[in-house]
């Protein structure tokens, strides 16, 4: 892979907007960035592409002043700068849109935008003028936001637009966007990409961090790929293809279908938006319609953390030998649904039945005893005890099993033998059984949890966010294991915010919106756009009709 290194600037006026040279950043033995070069020209979108943990965010956090580099130099417009804090970064015209928005929920959009800036009226605020300027900017960039709206009333997409407005209002020259599409519906992604294109046309430099190859290819001027903290290379988007980027990202060539899994892409890679995947690429669905459902949820209502109902009268069925995927934008009740089925959260009405056994109101231990396997969304918080050893975490839910405890005493030898076999069977990369689990990578922690849950041979397997934030190899491995469970006749229910993952894994897709299932889709008969509309809350009547028409032809 040839890296294209831009020529050294000789003339100051030709100097790029931003140059980072030889940036090295270590965290207690882990090299997050190792001599990384990166530059941005005014008027371009330069994407940073790579797996989770490749060092993309670290590099940008160095640029934004959260971390000080251990080595390296940053130049703006050709002259060296020291960025010791976000305040320095802002002074140099750098803005950053974080994954978690930095907004005050109880203030209006205008107040949030003006927050921290001097007012034209001295100590008094000047909401009129701020609103005026926001309207101008909204107009210019087609950012539909009401300056007087209060932030907590806004959707996630609108909040992100407020963040972009904040940056525009401060007249940034360089804007960093850290995984900006992760929380958006496909339509919102399209809107965002249009806004970003226009900002680039207006001469701003944009850094776009993503691990979604489709978005990177669709938006970028140039693409830099990072792997394990190194820069693998930089290439113009016109020269990049999905296969090249994936190969650079993972370091070796992948078979085409593997590449699709690796990048979290459904097999509709060519689609920027809304192309139907080619026929025959969807996973073959076993004939399951005749088997009775193993998991039946009826009319389920579950309270959320804020007291309002997060799940509202939801019903679903999962049969043995199928994978059902729950798709949806985060915060539409998916987490509460998974917690209610697993027994972690109490439902207020409705029923949950597993193979004919009533599970409503059961605690997690009872749900497991009846045959539920559960991989939680927050794996390091709920799925393991971070300070415990690998062996102790493999035992976590089995400490009462007669095989592992006798008369109240743990049977050390049997436990170690069991854990050793799980570590080998599930390829958990750990120095030893006694290694603290917190030192493992996210992917290995997820494998550990999968090993523990699958070793119980569940009849129904519930997996929340199967591969969020984990590396490609582990994600691929976990997808294989899930398909293997389907082949064994397990009823598999996955909840994922990654639509591409759901489309590549599931036999049926249920889209959740505001606490209930708004529509059902099949990955081989529905497009991303149809599912995206449902995720945005648009009833699928029209989309369904289209899908049905396609299915019959």
């Amino acid at each position: 892979m040839n890296a294209t290194i831009p020529a050294e600037p000789t003339d100051r006026t030709d100097a790029p907007l931003l140059e980072m040279r030889g940036i090295t950043k270590r965290f207690a033995g882990v090299v997050a960035n190792d001599g990384v070069d990166f530059d941005v020209q005014a008027g371009e979108v330069h994407s940073l592409f790579g797996e989770n943990g490749a060092g993309k965010s670290t590099l940008m956090r160095v640029l934004y002043g959260f971390h000080r580099p251990d080595a390296g130099e940053i130049r703006m417009h050709g002259s060296p700068v020291t960025i010791g804090s976000p305040a320095d970064a802002i002074r140099h015209g750098i803005g950053m849109i974080h994954q978690h928005f930095m907004l005050v929920n109880t203030l209006s959009v205008a107040d949030n935008v003006a927050l921290g800036l001097p007012s034209s009226r001295g100590p008094l605020t000047d909401p009129g003028r701020v609103s005026e300027r926001i309207r101008e900017l909204s107009e210019t960039y087609h950012l539909r936001v009401d300056p007087n709206a209060v932030v907590w009333q806004l959707s996630v997409g609108e909040r992100q637009r407020v963040e972009i407005l904040k940056a525009l209002y401060r007249n940034v020259a360089l804007l960093i966007l850290d995984e900006p599409t992760a929380v958006l519906t496909p339509q919102e992604v399209d809107d965002l990409i249009a806004v970003l294109r226009q900002m680039a046309q207006d001469g701003k430099g944009l850094v776009f961090i993503s691990h979604k190859v489709r978005e990177v290819l669709g938006l970028s001027t140039r693409i830099t790929v990072l792997r394990h903290g190194h820069r693998v290379g930089t290439l113009p988007a016109s020269a990049a293809t999905r296969d090249i980027l994936v190969e650079m990202m993972v370091g070796h060539a992948l078979a085409p279908e593997r590449a699709a899994v690796a990048t979290g892409e459904a097999l509709s890679d060519a689609a920027i938006v809304g192309l139907t995947p080619a026929a025959g690429q969807a996973p073959p669905a076993p004939a399951v319609a005749t088997t009775p459902p193993r998991l039946v949820v009826r009319d389920l209502t579950v309270p959320g953390d804020r007291g309002t109902d997060a799940v509202r009268g939801l019903g679903l069925e999962v049969r043995g030998g199928e994978i059902v995927g729950i798709a949806g934008v985060s915060g539409n009740g998916q987490r509460e649904l998974a917690e209610a089925i697993s027994g972690v959260r109490r439902s207020t009405s409705g029923s949950i039945v597993l193979d004919g056994t009533e599970l409503t109101g059961a605690n997690p231990a009872r749900a497991r005893a009846v045959g539920l396997g559960y991989v939680p969304e927050e794996r390091t918080r709920d799925g393991v005890v971070a300070d415990f050893s690998v062996a102790e975490n493999l035992l976590l839910v089995d400490s009462t099993a007669p095989a592992f405890s006798r008369l109240g005493f743990l049977r050390g030898r049997e436990i170690r033998r069991h854990c050793q076999s799980l570590v080998e069977a599930f390829d958990i990369r750990t120095p030893s059984l006694d290694t603290p689990t917190r030192t493992l990578s996210g992917g290995n922690i997820q494998k550990l949890i999968m090993a523990r849950e699958l070793s119980r041979e569940p009849r129904v397997l519930l997996v929340a966010q199967p591969t969020r934030g984990i590396d490609v190899a582990a994600a691929r491995y976990i997808h294989e294991r899930l398909r293997e469970q389907r082949a064994r006749g397990t009823a598999v229910l996955i909840v994922s915010e990654d639509l591409d993952e759901v489309m590549s894994l599931a036999d049926r897709i249920l889209v959740m919106y505001e606490g209930s299932v708004i529509g059902e889709a099949r990955p081989d008969a529905s497009t991303r756009a149809e599912i995206g509309l449902m995720m945005a809350g648009i009833r699928p009547d029209a989309a369904n009709a289209a899908a049905a028409a396609r299915a019959t032809t």
Binding site: A28, A365, G408
Partner: protein, 377 residues
């Protein structure tokens, strides 16, 4: 520019072992400076401490007299704090154990000695455990703060002791002997209710200390090798993971409070059976064994086996402190020396697990955190 304390995961193992000793040497140096500044002979004082707590006639015995109650209350705190149940009611639970054990001892004084001893222990255990269940039940079912409730109950238990001896004609109070007519006192227990110590030459090892040492080993095994201990550690380190695994948190909180209270209560029984042979409210209250037990447990890092060692160490210091005290050696100076030792050992412990860093940049230490930085950024 700020000063930051952060976790250090790469401290070598030998340092962890050597640290307490280095801290003690530092404490000796600091105390020496204080002693010299106040006009005392530092080395002479240390020699005196050594002799008073270990080598003088009765010195070692006296050390164990102070160590025994601290071992009980230290274990009581260690087990509760390990579970992150903050029982600081060891003081009151010890009082209640003393009330229970002395009541049983007075009632059954005519029985054979082994039976009376076992019954007294049972009385102390039950009284201490029941007293601890009050904050335990309130915490488990009503989410009250067990620190406040258990602390307040210490004063209630103290008042209960005073009521029994000074303000009522209770079963515990001596109403007949000539001295009791001058000043109220508790009934003395019969010889059968006296716990025999183990004689090793001139040194007497109290029965209570032997019992408590056995319990320390059992507690260590409970935490390390049993299902109950495993679930307890899960709940302590990650309540979320415990909930996810379906563990019964409330039951475990109650069990831990009961065990903790039982240990402190047994300490109260030992005070009656081993040493006092009478319920003496003022003596128990002045000793403050329950509160010192918190210090003992903290120094032992809540490890039951280490509590045995630390209790002997603190027992020796307390003993030496009483021996040193006199017209030329004020008790404040003894307290200062004890404070310097605790400060050094706890400070050394913190510096062993953490390190100081100057600067304003937040650091991530573990690979997990570094990966998290990528995901969270």
């Amino acid at each position: 520019m700020t000063l930051r304390i952060e976790r250090s995961l790469d401290a070598p193992r030998w340092l962890r072992v050597a640290l307490p000793f280095l801290s003690l040497i530092l404490a000796a140096i600091l105390s020496g400076i204080v002693l010299e500044l106040s006009g005392h002979d530092a080395l002479g004082t240390y020699r005196q401490i050594y002799s008073a707590s270990l080598t003088s006639t009765g010195g070692l015995t006296a050390t164990f007299v102070y160590a025994t109650p601290l071992l009980f209350t230290g274990l009581a705190v260690a087990i509760a704090f390990r579970m992150r149940v903050w029982n600081i009611g060891g003081e009151g639970q010890l009082y209640m154990g003393a009330i229970g054990a002395s009541g049983v001892g007075l009632l059954l004084g005519g029985w054979s000695q082994p039976l009376v001893i076992v019954a007294m222990m049972a009385g102390g255990i039950v009284a201490g455990a029941l007293w601890a269940m009050i904050p335990g039940v309130l915490r488990a079912y009503l989410q009250t703060n067990e620190i406040l409730v258990s602390l307040m109950l210490n004063y209630v238990a103290g008042l209960a002791m005073y009521l029994l001896i000074y303000d009522s004609q209770s079963f515990w109070r001596d109403l007949t002997s000539p001295t009791a007519l001058v000043f109220p006192q508790g009934k003395n227990l019969l010889p059968a209710a006296t716990w025999p110590g183990i004689q090793l030459g001139s040194f007497t090892l109290p029965l209570g200390f032997v019992v408590a040492t056995v319990l320390a080993v059992l507690l260590f095994m409970l935490v390390r090798a049993t299902r109950f201990g495993f679930e307890m550690r899960v709940m302590a380190d990650s309540p979320n993971a415990a909930r996810y695994a379906g563990m019964r948190t409330k039951r475990t909180i109650l069990a831990v409070m009961a065990i903790s209270g039982a240990l402190a209560g047994l300490g109260g029984a030992s005070q009656i059976g081993d040493f006092g042979h009478v319920l003496d409210p003022r003596g128990l209250e002045q000793a403050q064994y329950g509160y010192t037990g918190i210090v003992v447990a903290a120094l032992a890092l809540y490890n039951p086996l280490a509590v045995v060692i630390v209790s002997i160490f603190i027992g020796a210091l307390t003993n030496a402190g009483f021996a040193l005290q006199g017209p030329s050696f004020p008790s404040g100076l003894v307290g200062t020396m004890e404070g310097i030792i605790l400060f050094s050992v706890l400070g050394g412990e913190i510096l062993g697990r953490y390190r100081l860093r100057f600067g304003r940049e937040p650091r991530h230490v573990t690979p997990l955190d570094a990966a998290g930085a990528e995901a969270d950024a």
